[in-house]
Symmetry: C2
């Protein structure tokens, strides 16, 4: 059973993962090369290999096809080596001065499309829309269990971004506590709402950004793609919904049409302008609504869900690890300017 | 001039670095390979190339040798491409809803030894002690300027750990604000001191760790090497001074003898057991004493300086970036067990 352990000074929780536990010898370069060779030789996510993953929990597939058989377009399966494992809410325990709890949670893989070599950026818009609908559907289903307090949707593209398998996929991890960084964002948004702006900070930001245009990359009816003012990484982008909402799960179907156009614009520019770098795609949404509305009354008014795209072009080093400060060698205004240059085709 | 910019939701500051600014084209793989080739062909840190760095601010050298000439054992120079540049305390400014300030600070490089191919782990203990004394001396000198509120000492070893030059070196960056992560640690230590333990949390932790021994890697008269209970990374180690002190700069010469033995033990085990992986070495100390004692009265009682060694064996991915949660596939108890196995020679 994995464990959640709390760092007593900073309050940061870590997952000590036993299911994906590795022996110390596995970290030797020769063992790492062996793992990579095995992953190249066989793909458990390709059609025909459905038996190599745990049974699917959801899929979009041809009408005449059966679960765990080929014929799917997008397939959701539990992670075979989950960071957290399903269960009821565990009690918090102590070991000496330390706090920990059982590592209960959900860890799912969304296999985005059957073709091993077609990346998210190259999918047709309607397929991309299906994937976003799958994210929405899984969020709603997982959040029915109230002790899954936060649902993190993310994608690691490329080995440098943390992907261990190359077949295009995204992941969902639901945790039994609200993570520190999410709490920081929620408290920050609340403070700005109550003490400074008297409105949602991101709504205000969007108005200013659309007016100045200097960090704007792309805009359509419902979404804005921009490089954040305090970007941590070169060419970092945020995709912001224009309509205020704390909960991604409330996105409407017509907004999804607009979102996938914005997402494709962002990813295409990254691919064309920066030679297809590894990246992380990270959702930021409010905690499970039933938890959120109790812990943060009014959160619907001040939190604003959004996406981050974080290209991996520099290394995080000792200074960042020590201080939490990031050093970004590309001003977001130059990054936006460069990303704007090549207008991408619309589909 | 570099800028410090504040992320409004999380309160996280980033450095938008113009001195080390890179053109977007520099991120293409071909340009990256070119930079690496140049760095391999010529080393500005090797003896004879002293003119290729800014003039030294400090050095340990033969009595008959001159500054910025060969004959040095350890040499401190301003970073040629500093993340922050010296200056007086800048005012905080706003741009629309955003906060920023000029990127004022200190960024120095400590060239640890003249030999390009002798890594920290292979230095004699007396040379290692000289380097620690240089860290101490630079901290004291930089902290004379009160607006340098925090001094971060760190080392990036290996390209994957963020080192752009391979000649063994460490770095110091002093910032005009106390970084978020340091504040979290200080507030966390204060809370534990006042509300829970009525003593320093790390002193208490050390007592428990020495008693249980399950996360202990090495111990000598004045220092303990251990794998933290809530380790973020596989084989992460902490080096903790047994004598309570908030300020690394207060370390005594005889304690330095003990520290370098502990440091060498930690680094040797990493090298021998894990095939010399890239790593970050990160100091954690209280802010500039004059600032600290005003902002956090009693900080001498509850904060406890220490070192972290963070091997780079896994990738930080979308889940970590989104939530601030880390997934560690090696329980710290297994890591300590493995690192303990090979007793290393004492020098």
């Amino acid at each position: 059973m994995p464990e959640l352990r709390k760092d007593m000074l900073t309050g940061r929780w870590v997952i000590i993962s036993t299911e994906r536990s590795r022996r110390p010898d596995d970290f030797r370069p020769s063992a790492q090369a062996e793992i990579r060779r095995e992953n190249l030789a066989f793909c458990p996510f390709c059609p025909g290999n459905e038996a190599k993953t745990p049974p699917e929990v959801y899929s979009i597939r041809d009408n005449d096809s059966k679960p765990d058989q080929p014929g799917w377009k997008t397939r959701v399966v539990p992670n075979k080596f989950p960071a957290l494992t399903p269960g009821s809410l565990p009690p918090r325990k102590t070991r000496g001065s330390y706090q920990w709890m059982a590592g209960v949670g959900i860890h799912e893989v969304i296999i985005e499309n059957p073709d091993h070599n077609v990346e998210m950026v190259d999918l047709p818009l309607d397929h991309l829309a299906e994937i976003i609908k799958v994210y929405r559907q899984r969020t709603i289903v997982i959040e029915q269990q109230l002790h899954y307090q936060y649902v993190q949707i993310f994608k690691n593209k490329g080995q440098e971004a943390g992907a261990s398998l190359s077949h295009p996929h995204s992941q969902i991890i639901a945790t039994p506590i609200v993570p520190k960084r999410i709490k920081e964002e929620v408290y920050g948004a609340e403070r700005l709402f109550r003490n400074s702006f008297r409105e949602c900070a991101i709504c205000r930001q969007l108005r200013e950004e659309l007016q100045s245009g200097e960090r704007l990359v792309f805009e359509n009816e419902s979404f804005v793609v921009m490089t954040p003012f305090a970007s941590r990484f070169p060419f970092e982008m945020a995709i912001m919904p224009k309509r205020h909402s704390a909960f991604f799960r409330q996105i409407a179907d017509e907004e999804i049409t607009s979102l996938v156009e914005a997402l494709k614009q962002a990813l295409s520019r990254l691919k064309a302008q920066l030679s297809d770098p590894p990246f992380n795609l990270v959702f930021h949404q409010a905690p499970n609504p039933q938890v959120a509305e109790k812990a943060w009354p009014g959160i619907d008014y001040y939190y604003h869900w959004h996406l981050e795209i974080l290209p991996i072009l520099t290394k995080v080093a000792g200074f960042e690890l020590g201080t939490g400060f990031y050093i970004n060698p590309v001003p977001p205004e130059s990054a936006a300017d460069y990303l704007r240059k090549n207008e991408q085709p619309k589909s």
